[in-house]
Every structure is written in C-alpha cells, then in structure tokens.
C-alpha cells in the first residue's frame, strides 16, 4: 500500500465514524466536536486531491468559523449536561431503512458506471491561477458569481444582525397586550 492510500483509508474511516457520531450522539457538544473531526478529515481529503487552497479554506472557514459559531450557539441555548431523549424506535428504524436503501441504490449505480477519465494534463492550482480565474471575465472567469456571492454574504450578515437584535421577550409580551 502506498502512503496516500493509507492516508485515504484513515480519512475515510474518520469521516464515516464521526459523521455517524454527529447524528447519533445524545450530548450536543459531543455532536459538535464530532462534526469538527469530520470537517478536518474532509480537509485532509482535499489535500490528497492536491487542492491546497480549498483545504486551507475548509480548515479556516468550516473547522475554524462555522464550528466555533455552532459551539457558541450551543453554549448560549442549552445546558451542556443535558442529554437528548432517545428517538422513538419506529422513527429511527424507518429513517434508517430509507437512508440505507438510498445509499445502496446510489453506491450500486456508482460501481456500475464507468467513468471516462480525461487524459489532459493536470492544471496546477496555485494562487496565481485561482486569483486570475476568480476575477477573470473570459471563458474561465468567475467574476459574476464572485460578485454575487459577495452581495449574498453582506446581505446574510446584515440579516443575521437584524434577526438576532430583536427586543427582549418581556417587551414583546407587552406589545402583544
């Protein structure tokens, strides 16, 4: 076995085990930490695929940003020691059946299909190429989605502030009277 096969196996096992823990753990903070491990292992897969920039973005934005945001909101809204009640077995069983059925269908389809690999020379993804494509207007330019995504980010941030800044519950009750 080569080195990157071993690394792929490690990352795949970490991803599968910790994503199952993320959705089944009965303590919410443990679920969040499992999510953190899943995201870090995903960044490892990006490194294996030779997309260093995206792996760095994954580490800083997902593992660093979103998980911290989620953990903050957990600390604001729930008790750490609180344990969820177990799911009703009927709901868990039927959801698991549906999910496993779907996964089997998708995986058999993937294994039956033969992917036609492109033999073109691999493009080296360095910061120069990324910056030029992100702000280019030609055939390989992405300036329009880049601008749209910046507007979306600003709108989302302003919306988040407006939504979270509402008055205290006491004042709301007075208004309702």
């Amino acid at each position: 076995m080569e080195g990157n096969q071993i690394m792929f196996a490690v990352f795949a096992i970490v991803i599968i085990v910790f994503s199952v823990l993320t959705v089944t753990s009965r303590k919410i903070l443990r679920a969040a930490v499992s999510l953190l491990f899943v995201l870090i292992a995903t960044a490892g897969l990006y490194f294996l695929l030779n997309y260093q920039f995206l792996a760095a973005v994954q580490l800083t934005l997902y593992a660093g940003g979103i998980v911290v945001l989620i953990i903050f909101s957990i600390l604001l809204t729930s008790q750490i020691s609180h344990k969820f009640e177990p799911i009703e077995w009927k709901k868990a069983l039927f959801t698991a059946l549906a999910v496993i059925g779907g996964a089997i269908v998708v995986i058999t389809t993937i294994l039956k299909h033969t992917f036609a690999a492109d033999t073109a020379a691999a493009l080296e993804v360095n910061m120069n190429v990324i910056g030029k494509s992100l702000l280019g207007t030609g055939t390989d330019g992405y300036v329009l989605p880049f601008e749209v995504i910046s507007v979306l980010l600003v709108a989302a941030m302003i919306g988040a502030i407006v939504i979270a800044k509402k008055g205290s519950p006491v004042r709301d009750e007075e208004k309702n009277k």
Partner: protein
C-alpha cells in the same frame, strides 16, 4: 492517475456522509443538530465536486470554484440560521422544532 485511489472510493465516502446527514436531518429534533446535519450534507457534495474535478476534468477548475462558492453559501446560511435559532430561543426558551409551528403573519 497519480493518486492510487480510484474515483469511486471518494464518491462512496461522500455518499455515506450524505445519507448520514439525511438521517440526522430527519430524526433530530434540536435545531442546532439539524443545522449540523445540513453542514454534513453540503460538505459531502463538496467532496464530490472536487473528486470529479480532479479525476475527470483535471485541466479545468469548475468544480474547485463551485465548491468554493458552496462554502461561502454554507457560511452565510449558518450565520442566518444561528441568528434565527437564537431569536427562537428568546421566545420559547428552548430550540425544539415542535415549538416552531406557526409564522408571524
């Protein structure tokens, strides 16, 4: 291929991650854990984009930029979702989905 790992393996890992996210999305009742399940789903799609880009179209960067934009959308989605969750918590003092069953207007 320079990797030594077939493309199918990446897609199978992403598939398992995707369906685990769906399981959590359907069975969880706490809003934050539902948000975490949706992050799992988005992340598995990103793995697919990058694996297809690397193995099938190595001379292009479409999948790379698409997953970059997916990450940006996921970040703004998480910010808005957590703002909504906090305002729900202020109103109901917990964040179970059963409480949120009516709109304002």
């Amino acid at each position: 291929m320079n990797q030594g790992v077939p493309l199918e393996f990446y897609i199978i890992v992403a598939t398992i991650m995707f369906f685990t996210g769906i399981y959590g999305f359907l069975t969880r009742r706490n809003l934050i854990t539902i948000l975490m399940s949706s992050e799992l789903i988005l992340n598995s799609v990103n793995i697919n984009f990058l694996a297809f880009n690397r193995y099938l179209f190595p001379a292009k960067l479409d999948g790379h930029f698409f997953s970059l934009f997916v990450i940006a959308v996921a970040a703004s989605e998480a910010a808005v979702a957590i703002a909504i969750i906090i305002s729900i918590y202020r109103r109901f003092s917990n964040i179970n989905v059963e409480n949120v069953n009516e709109l304002k207007y």
